[in-house]
């Protein structure tokens, strides 16, 4: 082989095995993801097994087999399971029934009900929890100011209704039923009436048709709802943190939180590992169940005809029930919060007690914590609002961008190892329960790692963990929107000689814009109310609305808590509607 041939061969080999630009993007994201998921995991495992650099099983035996185990592990574990199972059963039941009523029957106002019920997903679960306390608090058991029921109707609310497992399950169900509702609704919508009518023609009874045709078709959607809801239950911190302590009701995340606050890191991380493992196991078990059945899920989207089930005499009673339920999940909590934030002394309904003090009032030092300036003039709160917007907008943009890139690499490289790995890895953060996951970041970024400075106490860390945790949703959105762009659209540009950057700018991004906006909104809404994930990581400088609300709630300043909870809901809804409007204009303008 002559020299020039050797040289030629070398150049070809470099070309062959070097990666095209999009693969390079994929590899960088994959490497980052692995670093952000596995290093913290390795670090907390190390800490849970070491005592001043010596190997020890001390923390594990303390958690699993000591006298304390009952209080720090077994009881919270049982509570966590009770809570998760309870909220899953109710959410799935209520969500799927509502979906059936809205999609397949002649219930009045179906379209509006469908839109409104999604709002309860936008309202943070712990905001509903705060509203619950405002209504059902019982001052004769728990001290403080009386709840609305107590002060208005002079009812002594039993303590099991004020706090503990029951209200937690109710509140979480109010928040999470839209998961099931949305999933089941789209599945029900995909059933062509012909499928059911064929059964009817063959002489099957209505019940038999529901059981043998309708139910099996929506089963995958129901199973997905079960997984989604159950795994949310395992990691949930906010609601139990508000509604649990007065009756000493602890779940694993609240135990981990208080352990970290009291410096029992070894035990806390051991618990975090256990919670994470339980989370991963349940999801994988359920995924196995689903994938076996997934094949049912896809139905032809063509020539759909929907025959509605006539409710007859049940129409109006059912309508009333549905309306009441939706009001409880959306409007009533907000009204309660508004009412409470306008009362100078909680529980006093005389007209002179109503005030805008907590919204626009001046500082009144004689009142202690409650004497801070009103929400709209309080520099600490304004900073938190600014931080919250900063955090959620930035996380939304970054997550949507990375989701978009992941979508591009996964769809373009379909069938390659890189594509598969990237798709799987971007799902991993979903398996990690929020608070324990944050615990790992607390360890990892407390000090400098190589070129990365210590991030604890910075906004960057909050953005980082929010993006990683939301990546499963953002990348799913990215993949879906990329899949809708036919590969010929990009190939036409390739043939015409456009390079990757030009194709991105002119073709891919403009076409995937709606997916990008959806990814942004999804991340924005969830990060705006995020408490579980960042409560461990905030410092006074980086306080955001949810964490400042948690602080006020701990100090029992109900009016500030309520006013701020409202602020968060209003901010979220405003951005949500603005972006939606902007997006619609964008589409129409083209």
């Amino acid at each position: 082989m002559s020299l020039s041939e050797t040289a030629k061969r070398r150049i070809y080999l470099i070309k062959q095995y070097s990666f095209s630009s999009y693969q390079l993007i994929g590899i960088i994201i994959l490497a980052l993801l692995m670093f952000l998921l596995f290093t913290p995991a390795a670090e907390i495992i190390r800490i849970s097994f070491s005592n001043k650099d010596a190997f020890t099983t001390h923390y594990w035996s303390r958690v699993l087999t000591s006298r304390l185990s009952r209080f720090i592990f077994y009881r919270p574990l049982i509570n966590t399971l009770k809570l998760s199972i309870g909220m899953t059963v109710f959410s799935v039941l209520i969500g799927s029934l509502l979906a059936w009523l809205v999609i397949r029957t002649d219930l009045p106002g179906r379209k509006i009900i469908e839109k409104v019920s999604i709002i309860s997903y936008i309202i943070p679960s712990w905001v509903i929890g705060i509203a619950w306390i405002t209504v059902f608090h019982n001052s004769s058991f728990f001290g403080g100011f009386p709840g609305l029921l107590e002060s208005f109707f002079r009812v002594k609310v039993p303590s099991q209704i004020s706090y503990g497992l029951f209200p937690i399950i109710v509140v979480l169900t109010l928040h999470y039923f839209p998961y099931t509702f949305l999933l089941t609704a789209s599945s029900l919508r995909s059933i062509d009436s012909h499928l059911e009518e064929t059964g009817e023609i063959l002489g099957a009874s209505r019940i038999r048709i529901l059981r043998k045709i309708t139910f099996p078709i929506i089963l995958p959607a129901l199973l997905s709802s079960v997984i989604l809801t159950f795994s949310k239950g395992l990691g949930t911190f906010g609601v139990p943190a508000f509604l649990g302590p007065p009756v000493r009701f602890n779940v694993l995340p609240t135990v981990i939180f208080s352990m970290i606050n009291t410096g029992s890191l070894g035990e806390a991380y051991t618990l975090a590992i256990i919670t994470t493992i339980i989370g991963i196991l349940t999801i994988y078990m359920n995924m196995k169940l689903i994938s076996a059945r997934q094949s049912f899920a896809t139905m032809s989207g063509k020539g759909m005809r929907m025959k509605l089930f006539h409710l007859g005499n049940w129409k109006w009673p059912l309508f009333t029930v549905v309306c009441v339920w939706i009001a409880i999940a959306t409007l009533i909590p907000l009204l309660v919060l508004l009412l409470q934030s306008l009362m100078f002394f909680p529980g006093n309904f005389s007209l002179s007690n109503f005030t805008l003090h907590f919204w626009i009032g001046k500082e009144m030092p004689q009142l202690g914590d409650a004497g801070e300036p009103g929400v709209l003039f309080n520099s600490g709160i304004i900073r938190a609002i600014f931080n919250s917007l900063h955090l959620s907008v930035l996380s939304g943009l970054v997550a949507a961008l990375i989701g978009f890139l992941i979508g591009y690499v996964v769809v373009k490289g379909k069938g390659t190892l890189l594509s598969k790995l990237l798709e799987q890895f971007s799902f991993l953060p979903y398996l990690m329960p929020g608070l324990p996951f944050a615990a790992t970041y607390l360890v990892l970024f407390a000090h400098r790692i190589g070129p990365i400075p210590a991030l604890y106490g910075t906004m960057t860390l909050l953005v980082l963990i929010s993006v990683v945790k939301r990546l499963p949703f953002a990348s799913r959105t990215g993949i879906n929107s990329m899949m809708q762009i036919g590969k010929e659209l990009e190939e036409s540009a390739v043939v015409l000689g456009a390079n990757l950057w030009r194709r991105f700018r002119k073709i891919v991004f403009p076409l995937a814009k709606n997916g990008f906006i959806a990814g942004f909104l999804l991340t924005f809404i969830t990060v705006m109310r995020e408490l579980d994930l960042i409560i461990l990581l905030v410092t006074p400088k980086t306080q955001v609305l949810p964490t400042i609300i948690y602080r006020y709630a701990e100090e029992s300043v109900a009016q500030f808590t309520n006013a701020l909870a409202l602020v968060i809901v209003i901010l979220t809804l405003v951005v949500y509607f603005i972006v939606q409007k902007f997006q619609n204009i964008g589409i129409l303008g083209e």
Partner: protein
């Protein structure tokens, strides 16, 4: 000469061999069609010539230059092959106007603004789309969309134009008008054209040359009429022609000089001339192909050797009528005049010229005469 030459080109997708050591020459200025059923490798071949798919092995030349060679380690990017490719679903960018869609390729070439305008208005005139510059693709009919997608590719004045089933998304009426449009454009610009389709009528109507492919292999390359009159094997005979050729089994009785006498199921003994240079054994099984239009039907027996059959269905198409008849246990079809007096369940007698018969070896499928 800017011929396109493929030498021993193969492409496998993992386990599945899409194109199998393909040799093919496409002459400059020709309208050359790759014809075959779906999954035969025709689109993959086209995409390899375009550079969108990398062959597993082989060489591809455009003119004197190799654009791909697995031995000599060459792989020229699609942009530098001076080709244009039109996709089945048009692949128009939905967020751009007609004007912007066409402008895209010119921008990549850094062509001056007023020159761009001039070129676009000329190409729009050429494809009869004047005045639609400001429309978005979803405001156009299917035929207009297809013309925009042609304009987008033609505006960069490619030496080679490739089309991947460009008409299959259109309805029947539009398809035939676009067919003549494509032929006219080809004659105007004179670019070498590679056209992929599974529609044999379309291929016949448009092409200078047709390559029939099946299972990743070339079956035959020939002009349309050659392909129809002298199919090289059973596959080509069956694929080209609508309604398809009738196939009947037969056995060799004896072979003479360039002649063979065969005994056909239901048709009796047939003498076939012009046998190729092959030795046939006695009793060797063969397949006889007769095109429906080569069969004549008589209501009374013209001579006592004619085979007798029963009419099963009569299918008038307007310009002619197709008659399905039962011959022994076989159903075959014959084309007859549109005005006729046939009735179902009546007896007819078949006649045909022996030189219209296509004779194939039943084992290899190769043509024998």
């Amino acid at each position: 000469m800017i011929d396109i030459v493929l030498k021993g080109v193969s492409k496998d997708f993992g386990k599945y061999l899409a194109v199998d050591t393909l040799d093919l020459t496409i002459k400059e200025h020709d309208f050359h069609t790759l014809l075959g059923p779906s999954g035969c490798g025709k689109t993959t071949t086209l995409r390899m010539v375009a550079g969108l798919e990398e062959p597993t092995s082989g060489d591809i030349f455009i003119g004197k230059h190799a654009v791909f060679s697995s031995k000599n380690l060459i792989n020229v990017s699609p942009a530098k092959r001076n080709i244009a490719l039109i996709f089945q679903d048009y692949a128009l960018w939905p967020h751009m106007t007609v004007f912007d869609n066409i402008k895209f390729g010119l921008e990549v070439l850094h062509i001056k603004k007023n020159e761009v305008k001039r070129k676009i208005s000329r190409i729009l005139e050429n494809v009869h789309l004047e005045g639609l510059e400001k429309r978005y693709p979803n405001e156009l009919s299917g035929g207009q969309q297809q013309r925009v997608s042609m304009a987008r590719m033609l505006v960069i004045e490619p030496k080679i134009l490739m089309m991947d089933e460009p008409l299959s998304n259109l309805d029947a009426k539009l398809r035939s008008s676009m067919r003549s449009e494509i032929k006219r454009l080809h004659n105007n610009i004179g670019a070498t054209t590679i056209y992929v389709t599974h529609d044999q009528e379309e291929a016949m109507a448009l092409s200078d040359m047709i390559t029939v492919m099946n299972n990743g292999k070339v079956q035959q390359t020939a002009s349309p009429l050659e392909l129809y009159d002298h199919p090289e094997n059973i596959f080509v005979a069956g694929f080209v022609g609508n309604p398809p050729v009738n196939l009947l089994n037969g056995r060799v009785i004896k072979q003479g000089l360039q002649k063979v006498l065969i005994n056909s199921d239901f048709l009796g003994q047939i003498n076939i001339d012009n046998i190729q240079n092959v030795t046939l054994k006695k009793d060797q099984s063969v397949i006889i192909g007769i095109r429906p239009e080569d069969i004549t039907l008589y209501s009374s027996n013209p001579d006592k050797n004619s085979a007798e059959a029963t009419i099963i269905t009569i299918l008038p198409t307007g310009s002619e009528t197709l008659v399905e008849i039962k011959l022994g246990d076989k159903i075959i079809s014959a084309k007859v005049e549109r005005h006729n007096s046939y009735e179902i369940n009546t007896k007819v007698y078949l006649a045909f010229e022996s030189h219209s018969i296509h004779l194939f070896d039943s084992e290899s499928g190769r043509r024998l005469n």
